[in-house]
């Protein structure tokens, strides 16, 4: 994502759930001009993103509203190979009115249902625990919407904490979430979820999240912050060096509460 901002791409579409930090990064670069959103400028207990809010309040980004489930079911429709799914959420609300969903009637019960249209992202970038060279990927812990997203997207890029052999994948086929025939590229990206957490691997860096939110409060400070952490570095590895390098990352590994017993 940092590389996308460094290249100063413009006019990308964006759809996401509570992928708020992703939105923070992309919004920072002014990359986005339209999005399907469910929950974007909030970071739960960490607070709201001031820059993300400024962007949306300015009218520079065209948005459509969705609930988390509405958006997830849109990916699922695409993953199932059907043009829509009937659901019982969003009904009666303005969230529905400002979405592109349609009311339909159930042909069996006559009930009013909401039809949410399949959403096929052009590119999905999914970070996993391990995959092989062909892209057969295994995720530990909760998967949120990654499985459906991989099946819905036209192109899939898998970034992975580590590479393993195909034989290791084939020895535990029950753990595979994304098979190679869905994957277009594989990137070995240790700590790729940083500053977020990766269950069973490392916890999130709340100190760094705090710096982002603090810096965003003032546009000029934020400009200097971006220069330092994004435009000023050549790679994700250099960024990781800046935030404290292996010493800091080792701390985050030790603080991770989920222990592996798989």
């Amino acid at each position: 994502l940092h590389e996308i901002v460094r290249r100063r791409k413009k006019n990308l579409g964006f759809s996401g759930h509570s992928t708020t930090h992703d939105f923070q990064i992309l919004a920072a670069g002014g990359v986005i001009d339209r999005c399907d959103i469910a929950y974007v400028v909030g970071l739960e207990m960490r607070g709201l993103s001031p820059n993300g809010r400024r962007l949306m309040e300015s009218g520079q980004v065209r948005t459509a509203e969705w609930s988390n489930a509405g958006l997830a079911w849109r990916y699922k429709a695409a993953a199932m190979g059907v043009p829509f799914l009937p659901v019982r959420t969003m009904l009666g609300s303005d969230t529905m009115r400002y979405s592109s969903a349609q009311l339909i009637e159930c042909p069996f019960t006559g009930a009013t249902l909401l039809a949410v249209p399949a959403l096929y992202p052009d590119v999905a970038i999914i970070h996993v625990h391990q995959c092989d060279l062909y892209g057969n990927a295994q995720i530990d812990g909760i998967s949120i919407v990654d499985q459906d997203l991989a099946r819905a997207a036209r192109r899939v890029i898998v970034t992975t904490e580590r590479l393993v052999s195909s034989e290791q994948i084939r020895s535990q086929p029950g753990r595979t979430s994304i098979p190679f025939w869905l994957v277009d590229a594989v990137c070995l990206t240790p700590f790729g979820s940083y500053p977020g957490e990766m269950p069973y691997e490392y916890t999130s860096d709340e100190r760094h999240f705090g710096e982002w939110l603090e810096a965003e409060k003032d546009p000029e400070t934020f400009e200097r912050f971006l220069d330092r952490y994004i435009y000023g570095v050549k790679s994700f590895e250099e960024y990781l060096e800046l935030i404290g390098g292996w010493a800091r990352l080792a701390e985050l590994q030790q603080q991770e509460p989920l222990k592996r017993s798989l």
Binding site: S18, S58, L113, P257
Partner: protein
């Protein structure tokens, strides 16, 4: 924010009031913050078999530390099932989730919630807020929605600027007409002044309990619409010593929600 001289804070009072609503052997979808503290407290007191679901996919974990993100590892410790967001949403849609807690920037007399924007122009809002997230889904699909919210006239408004999450919409029968599951809807509102319920005939909010030391006039003055009081108006129970002890020592020892002692 300490309540009238007693040894508890308003935040603690509200968390305990929320915990009391949760029954044993029921299911609840819980977000981070005070609702989670309430659910953890309920598990440690009267509802040891309360089943907690987190929106991102963790089901029935045994929580060792207060999670700060609904997808974080702390929500996943010793869970029964690690699934994904849609397993939670479909469990709700099948009618298996009893309780959910929501917040918002605005609430109206029918319990409709706004967490999307302040202003009248969708394209250029005065203030942009996070949007629905899972709030609309749980307000639509869970049996009982509990709202936790600060009590003032900017928040308690006659009509919300944007219905992010449905309450009773515009009154009796409106949820069913819209297609929402029969029997679901707002259950209680826990504010900084009182606990409100909803009249079963009119579907409008009414005060059921005043927090200790709060007057009817205070509530009326801080509400932007006509808010009646129940015939058998009660006082919100004060937290017990045991509850406070559990909350401070076990649920939130770092004071991330209830504040530092």
């Amino acid at each position: 924010m300490a309540a009238s001289g007693a040894s508890y804070t308003l935040q603690e009072l509200m968390i305990c009031a929320a915990a009391h609503l949760l029954e044993d052997n029921k299911t609840a979808v819980i977000g981070t913050g005070p609702p989670l503290a309430a659910a953890m407290l309920a598990q440690k007191t009267h509802a040891p078999n309360l089943i907690i679901f987190f929106e991102a996919g963790s089901m029935a974990p045994i929580l060792e530390k207060l999670p700060i993100s609904v997808a974080g590892s702390h929500t996943q410790t010793r869970a029964i099932l690690h699934s994904g967001m849609l397993e939670i949403m479909e469990t709700s849609q099948r009618g298996l989730v009893d309780y959910t807690f929501l917040g918002g920037a605005q609430i109206d007399p029918y319990g409709n919630l706004n967490s999307t924007l302040i202003g009248s122009d969708y394209a250029r809002p005065a203030v942009r807020l996070p949007g629905s997230g899972g709030a609309n889904d749980f307000a639509s699909l869970c049996w009982r929605t509990v709202v936790i919210i600060a009590h003032d006239r900017r928040k308690f408004v006659p009509q919300v600027d944007f219905i992010t999450s449905p309450g009773y919409l515009d009154g009796p029968g409106a949820r069913e007409t819209a297609g929402l599951p029969r029997g679901t809807g707002p259950y209680k509102v826990i504010s900084t002044l009182a606990v409100m319920g909803f009249d079963e005939h009119t579907c409008r909010m009414r005060v059921e309990c005043l927090h200790p030391g709060v007057t009817r006039e205070q509530v009326t003055a801080n509400t932007g619409f006509e808010l009646p009081f129940a015939g058998d108006l009660q006082e919100t129970p004060m937290p017990t010593a045991t509850e406070l002890e559990l909350l401070r020592r076990e649920v939130d020892p770092l004071g991330r929600i209830i504040g530092k002692p």
